[in-house]
Symmetry: C2
């Protein structure tokens, strides 16, 4: 009898197990995706497989900001038109992509590669904080663009203590109501902070 | 600026494009999954890539029933304890797995590899109907276990016309209310059919 753990083909089983190891993908979805791939021509499956393998073989990290890159220096760090004295510190590659998509930021980045989390066993030495300290001098502005939860605040505070002796300017993202948000639906923490940190009205 | 179509790394872009070609996976989910894979050790990424490649290289199809298999004959067709005179005709590999999971069926299968659908451009010659006709004789029972929509009914009718001359017995799945279903929530087509096809009460 073929059940959820008893596949008709070993190769199919291995593909389902690999796909279901992805976050948010269960065994049933993985089977659906594997059977979809199975219906594709062999060369398309090989291209898919090679693209995944490329994540291990062809992705480089920028030696300055630790962003994923095609070479030793990413396109942002290589761009002379950007402000190299403003460093935006983020948790992950995806945060860089989100901020770049706004088109509002013209400085450079520093990718920590995670966030301090005792529960997940991630300490300061697992992140690229040492590399950040080496980049910072008195003329630098460091923008701490980490999440607003306990881990984010802890990491921000730890980094602040490491870089403050250099005499650099340290800023953080503005927090408050989202653009177009309704007061009625805002949580009280956000609403409270947006009153405390109120800004001059510029009509 | 890095936007949705402007990735910091070519390899990352290729992985995201491959993953987002899967059904039901958008660009944002694909990026999330690719970045998750990127965080894994290289040997785990290689195993994942090899498992996908295995779908092209290591999956065989049973030469009798067209089910995916590790060799030329699947474990079901190779099983002498199963009833080889009862052939259950299904659309896909997944249907075989669903029926096997019930533990209620002891015959063999025939996987069509699709269903007749003029809209999707799938005709009888794209399916394994010719191979089914060759397996059928006067002593065979063929169970048409296709979906209950127009395409399923059309395919069932087409197959019936092809195999009826052999004198085989042709049956189809019972349709009616689901086990434990409430009359109140049943659609009228299902409820109507379950009255027309009512069965002797066996207490």
């Amino acid at each position: 009898m073929i059940s959820a753990d008893n596949y008709p083909s070993t190769a199919l089983k291995e593909a389902v197990e690999a796909i279901s190891s992805l976050p948010g993908v269960g065994k049933r979805s993985a089977l659906r995706l594997a059977l979809h791939l199975l219906k594709q021509p062999a060369d398309k499956i090989h291209r898919f497989s090679a693209a995944i393998g490329g994540l291990a073989d062809s992705v480089h990290y920028c030696k300055t900001c630790m962003m994923v890159s095609d070479g030793d220096t990413c396109s942002i760090c290589a761009d002379a038109k950007r402000d190299h004295d403003t460093i935006c510190v983020v948790e992950s590659v995806r945060d860089v992509m989100s901020i770049e998509a706004t088109g509002q930021y013209h400085g450079v980045y520093h990718v920590l590669g995670g966030i301090i989390s005792p529960i997940a066993g991630i300490g300061p030495s697992d992140l690229t904080i040492k590399e950040l300290v080496e980049r910072v001098s008195a003329g630098t502005e460091v923008i701490l663009a980490l999440s607003g939860d306990v881990e984010g605040e802890t990491t921000s505070f730890y980094i602040y203590r490491q870089i403050a002796p250099s005499g650099c300017k340290v800023t953080t993202l503005a927090r408050g109501l989202g653009f177009g948000d309704d007061l009625e639906y805002a949580d009280s923490m956000t609403l409270g902070r947006s009153i405390t940190n109120r800004q001059i009205f510029k009509p």
